[in-house]
Amino acid sequence: MKKIEAIIRLEMLDDVKNALEADNIVSMSISEIRGRGRQKGAKLMWRGDEYVREFVPKTKIELVVRDEDAAKVVKIIRETAYTGNIGDGKIFVLPVEEAIRVRTGETGEAAL
């Protein structure tokens, strides 16, 4: 099993989710993170003093998927989260050794 961590633009979540759903990938978790990379943070102001908020809010999607689905999921995310501008985000793939569904106790791929 693989864990896919995708860091995307806030406003792309809907599209990504819908595209994954269309391919029967429903289960996932999302959370708020803030990040920096090539993209610079916004220039902000407080009472006329300017400063930079260096970390840009992003959405992180986490999904654990079967090994054979990993490439497909990465591809879908890559394509739907794409805008072509700096700050589009990254996708990371990590190995997962075990998965357990709390409700049923199923383990392994059956638990996904």
């Binding site: 806030l10 809907d14 708020e32 916004a42 220039k43 902000l44 102001m45 300017e50 908020r53 809010p57």
Partner: protein
């Protein structure tokens, strides 16, 4: 300190303003006003209680500003909070300055052809007078109320610079001219053919269902139409997707503040504490709001199985708007009826325009527009002939149900003129702005939020925001009023 170009030009601005003011100040060769109030008091020893009453009621009306601000901020998303609030600061500030310079004179000055007032600019000369100042203050807070209504309708997408211009134009021209027709001795209230039709009085609007609220509501409608809906507000098929506001607490706080302020708005409009009818007005104001709020609540409860808070709040304000025109001329039971109808209008009115692609964030069109109109009509129906034209003396104002069909006719005329003027001038204003400096921010700015793009600020920097809180799928259409949904979503501005 190095003085850059910008500092200079800011200074220049100040200089110009200063000199302008000087000129105004020196102009009045004839000073016939009573700036101390000594003469006024001598002539009318009962004046102090009237001054106290009118001023305090005016303060309460001014306090409706934070009510609107909180309500509008609450129904908007967190990323647009500062922008909404800034618009409220601007329309009260620019509005009062514009009304000082121009608006008041056009509204309450000596009438030219019953169409527009002509003196009292800058409160200078004769207008430097305690009585005039009193009137100015009370009229100004009403004007600012009309202005601020629009900001809630068109929230979350207009350009800030455009909004500044808008707020000047409405307070300097649009509102005052219409106000003149009703309250400044203009044709709607005072032309011979109107008073003949009405039976001694023309079109009436006690505290401004039409003058203030419907004007604000219909300008908002024009703004919404020309701006187009917010990104994501409608599906491609034109089905509405709700975009919840970021703080129900602010919404309810704002509504209660408005309700409180309305006790200045309506009873204060007697413009005299010697009119003891003020107590009846306070009662009517309460009952209409309560009835309307509960009607809206029960409608949503029945329809969806749950009592909806924003509709309830909209209902309360709608009831207040609806009773505003009639508050002095109807009995308490009638206020309840007017409020119940207002509750229906606000719910079905909102759903009606929503299906037609009007993205009215705060619900200003049904709340202030439709119910402002309903208020004018209700006055024409329910006025019960117990109270005169802002006085205890005859002729007493009576409506259709009390046998005066002519007055109902006056109100009917008033309704149309009101809509035509407000929507017409509002449309023209936003249309011109749209095709010159533009009225809408770019999609990128809108997605980022106006706080960042227009004001360089994050309103709640210490908390983690969650954009995806935005709903993403509509499960079923809740209402089928509108058949011919046009694909308006996303095409605005």
């Amino acid at each position: 300190m190095e003085i850059g170009k910008r500092e200079i030009s800011v200074r220049r601005l100040a200089m110009v303003l200063m000199m302008l003011s000087m000129i105004i100040a020196l102009t009045p060769a004839v000073m016939a006003g009573d700036p101390t109030g000594a003469t006024t008091l001598e002539e009318d020893p009962g004046a102090p209680v009237d001054y106290v009453w009118i001023l305090i009621c005016g303060f309460l009306v001014m306090f409706m500003q934070p009510g609107f601000a909180m309500l509008e901020a609450g129904v908007s998303r967190a990323k647009n909070t500062t922008n909404v609030l800034m618009k409220n600061l601007v329309d009260f500030s620019m509005g009062s300055l514009a009304f000082f310079a121009v608006g008041f004179a056009l509204m309450m000055g000596t009438s030219a052809y019953m169409f527009v007032g002509t003196d009292g600019f800058f409160l200078a000369g004769e207008a430097y007078d305690v009585g005039t100042a009193l009137t100015w203050f009370f009229m100004m807070v009403f004007c600012a109320t009309a202005a601020t209504i629009v900001s809630g309708a068109i929230a979350e997408r207009p350009k800030f610079s455009t909004y500044v211009i808008y707020s000047v134009v409405i307070c300097a021209f649009i509102y005052p001219i219409y106000g003149h027709w009703i309250w400044g001795g203009g044709w709607l209230s005072s032309a011979d053919f109107m008073t003949k039709l009405g039976g001694g009085y023309g079109a009436l609007d006690f505290a401004g269902s039409g003058v203030v609220h419907a004007v604000g509501g219909y300008i908002g409608l024009a703004g919404c139409l020309l701006l187009g809906p917010r990104i994501g507000r409608y599906t491609k098929e034109g089905k509405p997707i709700p975009i919840p506001g970021h703080s129900v607490a602010f919404v309810v706080l704002g509504a209660f503040i408005l309700w409180f302020g309305w006790f200045g708005f309506n009873p204060g409009s007697t413009l005299s504490a010697h009119e003891l009818r003020i107590s009846v007005i306070a009662v009517n104001t309460t009952l209409a709001a309560a009835a309307s709020a509960m009607t809206a609540m029960f409608i949503t409860w029945k329809k969806f199985g749950k009592a909806d808070v924003v509709m309830t709040v909209n209902g309360a304000v709608a009831g207040l708007v609806a009773i505003t025109a009639a508050c002095a001329w109807v009995a308490p039971w009638a206020s309840v009826v007017i409020g119940i109808v207002a509750g229906f209008i606000v719910c079905y009115g909102f759903w009606f325009i929503e299906r037609r692609g009007v993205d009215d964030v705060v619900g200003a069109v049904p709340v202030h527009g439709f119910n402002g109109t309903w208020g004018l009509i209700a006055l024409g129906l329910f006025a019960d002939g117990t109270y005169g034209n802002y006085t205890t003396a005859e002729p007493f104002v009576a409506g259709l149900f009390y046998g005066n069909a002519g007055f109902f006719g006056c109100q009917f005329i008033s309704v149309f003129v009101n809509f035509a003027w407000a929507f017409g001038t509002g449309f023209l204003l936003f249309y011109v702005l749209k095709h010159t400096i533009g009225i809408r921010v770019s999609p990128e700015e809108e997605l980022a939020g106006l706080d960042i793009s227009e004001h360089g600020i994050i309103s709640y920097p210490d908390f983690v925001y969650t954009e995806p809180a935005r709903p993403t799928k509509v499960i079923r259409m809740t209402n089928k009023i509108g058949e011919n949904e046009q694909e308006r979503g996303g095409k605005g501005g």
